[in-house]
């Protein structure tokens, strides 16, 4: 469980990136943190594994205050996948890249092999086991970076902009993959600008602006709240846009899911015919 209480954070340059943020993420929850550039999203999630320590307030992971433990210890529970895979890939083969963290955490050789196979399989990278990560495409490198974190099976997974540079098929795989993690009761936190992706996943959405949380609730409610989104310079998901324009027909505006949209439209159509 992640408990953030009254956190303020000021960068050494004097920029105040978080202004009194409080947030609780329960075990097994799926949260998308959204907001415009510079809203403090990445700064906030960097507090979850202790990369940043609050200037004021507390962050507790499973009851342990992040200031009282090391990043390495926290990382065992909190996996953090950075936005740019090129900021972490350095090994000669994909296999070694994935083994890096496992070795750091002191896993046994057998377990390491097993976990590598498992992670590669999970992200359909098995064929690249012996390939240099630098030879892979951008999307593949991103998956290697993800695999290298998933390999130690952290209870909480944080992903910064996971959909950037991924084609639609990979995004869909990522979504299914998050669903799978949810089934295992893992906590997933993503930081993203990708409204359509969030609409498809329909997680809890936390909206940030200028270092504060301005809205927090079900994806369906936040992503159809025009005022809240406009404040954070986020456009409505396409389905919500359609239903906003259809509002004069008396249809619900609170729709972001394709299947739900289809049902509502079908019903409306049937009603008109009869």
């Amino acid at each position: 469980m992640i408990v953030v209480e009254g956190v303020r954070f000021t960068y050494s340059g004097g920029v105040e990136a978080l202004r009194d943020v409080s947030l609780t993420v329960k075990d097994g929850e799926f949260v998308a943190i959204m907001g415009q550039n510079g809203a403090g999203k990445t700064t906030l999630v960097k507090h979850f594994n202790g990369l940043l320590k609050p200037s004021k307030g507390t962050v507790r992971i499973d009851g342990v205050e992040t200031t009282k433990t090391s990043i390495a210890k926290l990382s065992r529970t909190v996996g953090f996948v950075f936005q740019n895979p090129d900021h972490q890939l350095f090994s000669e083969t994909v296999e070694e890249e994935i083994a890096f963290a496992l070795k750091n955490f002191g896993f046994e050789e057998e377990v390491i092999q097993k976990q590598i196979t498992w992670a590669l399989n999970l992200l359909s990278l098995t064929q690249y086991r012996k390939t240099s990560p630098f030879m892979l495409s951008g999307g593949e490198r991103k998956r290697v970076a993800l695999a290298s974190v998933l390999a130690w099976d952290p209870q909480i997974l944080i992903m910064d902009e996971p959909t950037i540079g991924q084609d639609h098929e990979q995004k869909e795989k990522l979504r299914q993959f998050i669903v799978q993690l949810q089934a295992q009761e893992k906590t997933v936190v993503i930081v993203t600008h990708d409204v359509e992706f969030v609409a498809e996943c329909n997680p809890r959405v936390v909206l940030m602006k200028e270092g504060k949380i301005v809205a927090d609730g079900k994806g369906k409610d936040i992503l159809t709240n025009i005022e809240a989104l406009a404040q954070s310079s986020i456009v409505l998901p396409q389905i919500a846009q359609i239903f906003t324009q259809l509002a004069p027909l008396g249809l619900s505006r609170n729709v972001i899911d394709i299947y739900e949209a289809k049902d509502i439209l079908l019903q409306a159509w049937e009603k008109r015919r009869t």
């Binding site: 990369l51 950075f82 900021h87």
Partner: protein
């Protein structure tokens, strides 16, 4: 990274920032030469104090202090090596002049850092490139130079992100003995170098698609012209050099040890 912070240019409007970079560079060189000419505390202190008005006029005290703090480690190192060698030279006895000599050498280093720091803090990389260009340095070189200067802070920031990414995978940079600690930095250095190379290739492509090197003679939007302040600084520079040479030739500079002991 604090040394880099102390050299990073920030846009401020001050009489020092508006000076012509060429003249400022000549000034820095003059201070450099003067610092090398003298090896005792009094003239070096004078050189040190002479820079302070520039620092305050340019309103860069904080960054300037940071650059000095960044140089602290090297300064201490210089003090002790000089002290040890003069200690050995003097026949393994500690005398006041040993300490004074080591202090003077350290002060010389501080003066050099101080003047370069003021120069880089108050001169934008663009102006610097322009100055090089107008001094008939081929544009390829001046561009490479300005780009290098400009990318230092970018690389420093990137190094920080990479360190964070690897720490998030359980890397503990401070762990282990000396050799182990050096090896700990491999996962940071490789991504840093790879991404620098990648960035430079991208930059090259972007430049070529914007007609880099299409004409022999490039024109500039802003040219460099000398103003009153520049001539004043040039005068000060000349004065420093003249006084320095005069003092060196005709005025015996007393050491503190001789003055007080």
């Amino acid at each position: 990274m604090s040394v880099f912070d102390g050299l990073k240019f920030r846009k401020v409007y001050s009489p020092i920032h508006n000076l012509d970079p060429r003249i400022k560079f000549i000034y820095v060189c003059a201070v450099f030469v003067a610092a090398i000419l003298f090896g005792s505390i009094l003239p070096l202190s004078a050189l040190f104090l002479m820079q302070l008005p520039f620092v305050f006029l340019a309103r860069v005290q904080r960054q300037w202090l940071r650059s000095l703090r960044g140089a602290l480690f090297l300064a201490v190192f210089i003090f002790f090596t000089n002290f040890i060698f003069s200690f050995i030279n003097a026949g393994y006895v500690i005398v006041a002049s040993n300490v004074e000599f080591a202090a003077a050498m350290t002060l010389r280093f501080v003066v050099l850092v101080e003047s370069f720091s003021v120069f880089f803090l108050t001169t934008s990389p663009d102006l610097l490139g322009l100055a090089l260009e107008e001094s008939h340095v081929p544009y390829e070189f001046s561009f490479a130079f300005t780009t290098a200067v400009r990318f230092v802070p970018v690389l420093a920031e990137e190094a920080q992100t990479i360190m964070d990414a690897q720490k998030a995978r359980g890397l503990e940079l401070e762990k282990g003995n000396f050799m182990k600690r050096i090896r700990n930095y491999i996962p940071v250095l490789i991504p840093l170098i790879v991404s620098a190379i990648r960035r430079s290739l991208e930059l090259a492509e972007a430049m070529e698609s914007r007609a880099w090197g299409a004409t022999k003679k490039r024109t500039n939007l802003y040219g460099l012209t000398l103003h009153k302040g520049d001539f004043v600084l040039l005068g000060i520079t000349m004065a420093i050099l003249v006084v320095a040479v005069y003092v060196l030739l005709f005025v015996p500079v007393p050491t503190l040890t001789k003055l007080f002991l």
